[in-house]
C-alpha cells in the first residue's frame, strides 16, 4: 500500500519527508494546523521551533476562545467525575458539541452519590438549558426535556447577562424564561454545575457565565465544567502550554515562542496570504480542499491516495485506532492513554513529523 506521495507521484516515506523538510526549510512563513494527539503535537511544536512556524488547531477558533477564557480572566471549573458525582443541578450553556451529548445523557440518567443532596421526590438531577428550542440539544434519559432558559432572540451572552442580573435581584428589560424555576433550583442546590464549551459560544458569554458562577459562590457552591470544543484541540493546547509557556496560536517567526491569538490564527494567515507553506496534520481523512493560492501544502493524513493539490502527502495512522496514543479526554478532564483499537502499520503523526524534522538541518537535538 502506498503511503507517501510527492505531488501525485508515489514515493518512499523517507523521500517524501526529505522533500517536506526542504519545503519547510525554504519557506518564508510556514504555518501548521494540528488535529492530532499529544505526541503528534509535541513533535509538531519541536519542528515548528526549528523552522520558525506558527501553529494552531485545525479548527482553531473555538479552542482559542476556550484558551482566552483562561489567559484573560481565569475561571472556576470542576472535574467531570466530580460533576457526575456531585451535581444536583445541571445547566447546559448554549449548544454543546455533539461529542459531549452522551455525557449529558449520562448525567440525566444518574444521580449524584456524594454529599447526599435532597433531590426531592423525583430522585433526579434538575437540568436546564440556556439557549433556545432551535438548538440541537443533548438527548436526556427517559424522554426528559431540559427546562429552557432563554431571552427571546437574545444572544447567549445577553441571556447569561440577564440571568445574572435577575439572580442578583436586578430589573431586566426582558426577563429570562422559567427564571423562577431556575432560582428555586439554585436556592436548594448543593452543587450546580454549568456545562460550557468554546463552540458556538462567543468569548463574552464564557466570561459572563464565570461572573454568574462567581456570584453563586459568594454564599454557596457552584462551578463550570469545561467540555472542550475539540479534545485533540485542548490536548494540543495543554502540550503547547507546557512546552512553550503558551497555548495554541503561538509562533516561532523570530526564533522564540510568541503567543498572539490574532497574528498566529493560522486560518487567518492562510486567508490573508501571509503563509506560503501549510503543514496540515490530521489523522482523520481530510476532504481535499480547493487550492486558493500559491501556498504549498504538506498533508499528513490518514489516506490511501495523495491529497489533492498537496506538494507532499504522507499517510499517518489515527491515534488510538492504528497506534497507541495519549489524548485529552473530556470524560476525565485530563490526559489518557489509549491502546490501538485496530493496530496497523501506518505510522503515527509523531513518527512522521520527527522524520521530517530529522531532515531539517539544525545544531540542536530534537527535544521530542
Amino acid at each position: 500500500m502506498a503511503v507517501a506521495w510527492i505531488g501525485n507521484r508515489e514515493t518512499l516515506v523517507e523521500r517524501a519527508a526529505a522533500h517536506a523538510a526542504a519545503l519547510l526549510g525554504s519557506s518564508r512563513c510556514p504555518v501548521f494546523s494540528l488535529d492530532t494527539d499529544i505526541h503528534g503535537t509535541r513533535a509538531a511544536i519541536a519542528l515548528a521551533e526549528r523552522v520558525g512556524a506558527a501553529y494552531d488547531h485545525a479548527d482553531g477558533a473555538a479552542v482559542s476562545r476556550e484558551a482566552a477564557l483562561f489567559t484573560d480572566k481565569g475561571a472556576m471549573t470542576v472535574a467531570p467525575g466530580e460533576a457526575r458525582r456531585r451535581a444536583d443541578v445541571v445547566v447546559v450553556v448554549g449548544e454543546l458539541p455533539q461529542i459531549h451529548h452522551q455525557f449529558v445523557g449520562e448525567l440525566s440518567a444518574t444521580v449524584p452519590d456524594l454529599s447526599t443532596p435532597d433531590l426531592s421526590a423525583r430522585n433526579q438531577r434538575e437540568i436546564f438549558l440556556i439557549g433556545s428550542n432551535e438548538m440541537s440539544a443533548p438527548r436526556l434519559s427517559n424522554g426528559r426535556i431540559a427546562t429552557i432558559l432563554s431571552c427571546g432572540e437574545a444572544s447567549l451572552g445577553a441571556t447569561l447577562a440577564a440571568l445574572r442580573a435577575q439572580w442578583r435581584g436586578r430589573q431586566t428589560s426582558r426577563p429570562v424564561s422559567n427564571f423562577d424555576d431556575f432560582a428555586k433550583a439554585l436556592e436548594a442546590a448543593h452543587f450546580p454545575v454549568f456545562l460550557f464549551s468554546g463552540d458556538a459560544t462567543e468569548g463574552l458569554a464564557l466570561e459572563m457565565l464565570q461572573g454568574l458562577v462567581t456570584d453563586l459562590n459568594r454564599k454557596s457552591r457552584a462551578s463550570g465544567l469545561h467540555l472542550s470544543a475539540s479534545e485533540n484541540g485542548w490536548g494540543s493546547a495543554l502540550a503547547s502550554t507546557w512546552m512553550t509557556g503558551f497555548p495554541l496560536r503561538t509562533g516561532f517567526a523570530r526564533g522564540f515562542p510568541e503567543f498572539d491569538p490574532w497574528r498566529n490564527d493560522v486560518a487567518r494567515m492562510i486567508a490573508a496570504g501571509e503563509a506560503d507553506l501549510h503543514l496540515r496534520i490530521s489523522s482523520s481523512i481530510v476532504q481535499p480542499q480547493k487550492k486558493r493560492n500559491r501556498m504549498a501544502l504538506i498533508a499528513l493524513a490518514k489516506t490511501h491516495e495523495p491529497v489533492a493539490g498537496a506538494a507532499v502527502t504522507i499517510a499517518i495512522g489515527e491515534a488510538g485506532v492504528d497506534h497507541q496514543a495519549v489524548v485529552y479526554s473530556s470524560r476525565t478532564g485530563s490526559l489518557r492513554s489509549v491502546d490501538a483499537r485496530a493496530a496497523s502499520e501506518l505510522p503515527s503523526a509523531a513518527t512522521v513529523i520527527r522524520l521530517v524534522a530529522s531532515h531539517v538541518s539544525a545544531e540542536a537535538a530534537l527535544p521530542c
Binding site: R42, F70, R86, E106, R221, W242, F256, G333, S334, A364
Partner: protein, 543 residues
C-alpha cells in the same frame, strides 16, 4: 570513560570527606581513585568547591495546576531573544525545557514535584519527561478523595488502607505521598469555608487529624522512605502557627514532613495582628526529632501561587495580582491558581523575615530543607540570592535596610548571627534530601554513588558562585560548563513500585465503574505512554 575532577575542595558530609582532593568518575558512577589509573578526561577544579548535585524536595515544576498557571499568565513569561539553538525550547519564558536547564545551571540534579493529583498522573509525568537533564520525582496527593475518606469513615482495616495507598503510589509512579489541607477540599465542596486540624469533613464525620494520622501510619507501614508530606490547614492565616504546632505535636514519634513552614509562621501580635511565630515553631521543630520541614521562603516580586489547597486559594482570590485566578474542584483536591506579588510592605517583609528566621533558628541542617515552594514563595531562580542571605549576615543586614521597619520590629531576624557554612549547605541541599527521599545513590560523593556532581568556582559573591556552576555532571555526563548548558540529555522520574493487592484492584475497578461510569484503565497508563526510552527509575521501599 574515566574522569578526574582534580584539586577541588570536596564537601561530602555523608562520607566525612572535607578538603582538597580528587574525585573520580567512571561512566555514570563515582569511583574510588583507581590504582595508577589514568584519567581520559581531567577537570581542573582548583579554586572550586565540589559537592553532590543538589536535590530540591518541593518545587511545583509540572502537572495540571502548574500548566494552568502558565495558561493563566501568558503576559508574565514572555520569551526572550533566541539563544544559540543548542537547547531547544529553553528560551520560552516558562517551559518544561527551560525548567530543566535553569535547575542544572545551578547544580541541581534532582527535583521533586510535590503535588501530583493521582487523576493527572499521566499528564504530570509527560510534563516531567519534557524537563531535560535532571531527574524528577513526584508525591501523589491523597486525603481529600472519597475512596480514602469513605474507608476511614467505615473503619476499614489498616491493611486495606495500605493497599489503597500502595496502589495509588504504584499506579501514579510516585515516590511518596502528600496530604494537602486534609479534608478541606472535600469540605469546601460542601460549602465549608475554613477548616482546622480537628474539624470534621461533612458526610464523612472524619477529622483532618484522623486523615493525617491514617496516612502517616500507612506510609510508614508500607516502608515508603519519604515520610508523609503534610501541607497543614490554615495556610497563610494569622495564627496559623497554632495549627502548625498542633500538627508537629501530632507526629507522635512517627516521621512527618511539614511543607513550607514559613506559610504557617504567623502569630497574631502587633496592631495588625500579624507577627512572627518563627522562634516558637523553630523551638518545636528542634525539640521534635521525628519532624522535618521545608521553608517555602518568600522573596520579593511577582509570582503566582499554585496550590491544591483549593479552599485556601479560593479565599485568596481577592488578593490576585493581576486580577484573575483559576479555582478547580478536582477529583480529590483540585487546586487554585492565584497570581501574587510580594511587596516590601509590612506583610511581605514579615513573611520574608519569618522564612529566614526558621532557616537560622532550626539547628539541625538535616531536618530543615531549602525551598521557596516554587513558585509560591518565589520562583526557584531566586535560589542563588537566598543562599547568599543564609550564608552572609551582611547580605541580610543590607536587605533589611530597605524593608518595613514595623515588620522587622516584630521579628528576631536582625539579631541572628548565624551564617550557614558550605558543609551545612551540602547537608541541607544534598545529603539530607537524599536521605529523606530514600535515594541512597545520591546526595553524597562516595564510591558507587550516581555521578551527580556540582562544581562551583569560589567567589566572594555567593549568589554568583552558586547561581552558575563551573561544572555539573548528571549521571556522569558533563552537562554544564561555566553556567551554560553544554550537553542535552533526558533524566528519569524516580518512583516506588509496590505491587498492588489483587482484591484492592477489584474493589477499585468496581468503584470506578459504579461511581464514574468508567473502567479503571481510564486512570492508569503503560510506561510506553511517556514516549521516552527510560522514563522511570525505580527506588526501593524500606524493608
Amino acid at each position: 570513560m574515566l574522569t578526574k575532577i582534580a584539586g577541588g575542595d570536596i564537601i561530602d558530609p555523608v562520607n566525612g570527606r572535607l578538603g582538597k582532593g580528587d574525585l573520580w568518575i567512571s561512566d555514570d558512577k563515582i569511583v574510588a581513585a583507581p590504582a595508577g589509573g589514568a584519567a581520559e578526561r581531567t577537570i581542573d577544579a582548583a579554586g572550586c568547591i565540589v559537592m553532590a548535585g543538589a536535590i530540591d524536595i518541593h518545587s511545583h515544576i509540572g502537572g495540571g495546576n502548574v500548566n494552568t498557571a502558565r495558561l493563566l499568565l501568558p503576559e508574565q513569561h514572555a520569551a526572550h531573544q533566541a539563544r544559540p539553538a543548542t537547547t531547544p525550547l529553553s528560551n520560552a519564558g516558562w517551559s518544561t525545557f527551560q525548567t530543566g536547564c535553569l535547575y542544572a545551571r545551578m547544580g541541581f540534579t534532582t527535583v521533586v514535584e510535590p503535588a501530583m493529583s493521582p487523576g493527572a498522573a499521566l499528564h504530570t509525568h509527560l510534563e516531567l519527561a519534557d524537563i531535560p537533564i535532571i531527574d524528577k520525582a513526584t508525591l501523589a496527593i491523597l486525603g481529600n478523595d472519597d475512596f480514602l475518606l469513605s474507608m476511614i469513615r467505615d473503619d476499614a482495616s489498616s491493611q486495606m488502607i495500605e493497599d489503597y495507598v500502595a496502589w495509588t503510589v504504584a499506579s501514579t509512579r510516585a515516590l511518596g505521598v502528600k496530604v494537602i489541607n486534609a479534608g478541606a477540599a472535600a469540605a469546601f465542596k460542601e460549602n465549608v469555608r475554613t477548616f482546622s486540624l480537628d474539624d470534621v469533613v461533612p458526610s464523612y464525620g472524619v477529622s483532618s487529624r484522623k486523615i493525617v494520622k491514617t496516612l502517616q501510619a500507612a506510609v510508614d507501614s508500607l516502608g515508603v522512605p519519604h515520610p508523609l508530606h503534610v501541607h497543614c490547614n490554615n495556610l497563610g492565616s494569622p495564627g496559623s502557627a497554632d495549627t502548625a504546632a498542633a500538627t508537629i505535636a501530632a507526629a507522635e514519634g512517627l516521621p512527618l514532613h511539614l511543607a513550607h513552614l514559613q506559610f504557617y509562621g504567623y502569630g497574631t501580635e502587633g496592631k495588625r495582628r500579624f507577627s512572627s511565630a518563627a522562634a516558637r515553631l523553630a523551638e518545636l521543630v528542634n525539640a521534635t526529632p521525628e519532624v522535618t520541614i521545608d521553608i517555602g521562603q518568600v522573596m520579593f516580586g511577582q509570582t503566582v501561587t499554585v496550590s491544591s489547597d483549593v479552599m485556601r486559594q479560593f479565599s485568596a482570590r481577592g488578593s490576585a495580582q493581576p486580577k484573575k485566578s483559576v479555582i478547580h474542584d478536582g477529583d480529590g483536591n483540585g487546586g487554585g491558581i492565584v497570581p501574587y506579588s510580594y511587596g516590601k510592605d509590612f506583610y511581605g517583609t514579615m513573611q520574608w523575615a519569618i522564612g529566614l528566621e526558621l532557616f537560622l533558628l532550626i539547628d539541625d541542617p538535616w531536618r530543615v530543607f531549602f525551598t521557596t515552594d516554587h513558585p509560591n514563595g518565589a520562583p526557584f531562580t531566586v535560589y542563588p540570592a537566598l543562599f547568599e542571605l543564609l550564608m552572609t549576615r551582611e547580605a541580610r543586614t543590607e536587605m533589611i535596610a530597605g524593608l518595613s521597619p514595623s515588620a522587622m520590629a516584630l521579628s528576631t531576624l536582625a539579631a541572628i548571627d548565624r551564617e550557614y557554612t558550605f558543609e551545612e549547605i551540602a547537608i541541607m541541599t544534598r545529603a539530607a534530601p537524599a536521605r529523606l527521599l530514600g535515594l541512597t545513590d545520591r546526595g553524597h560523593l562516595g564510591a558507587g554513588a550516581t555521578a551527580d556532581i556540582a562544581v562551583y568556582r569560589r567567589d566572594q559573591n555567593i549568589a554568583k558562585m552558586l547561581g552558575q556552576a563551573a561544572y555539573v555532571f548528571k549521571d556522569g555526563d558533563l552537562v554544564v560548563q561555566d553556567g551554560e548548558i553544554t550537553h542535552y540529555r533526558w533524566g528519569k522520574a524516580l518512583r516506588l513500585n509496590p505491587s498492588p493487592d489483587k482484591a484492592m484492584l477489584r474493589r477499585l475497578e468496581d468503584y470506578h465503574q459504579q461511581r464514574y461510569g468508567l473502567s479503571l484503565d481510564w486512570f492508569d497508563f503503560p510506561d510506553t505512554a511517556i514516549a521516552r526510552e527510560q522514563p522511570f527509575g525505580e527506588v526501593a521501599c524500606r524493608t
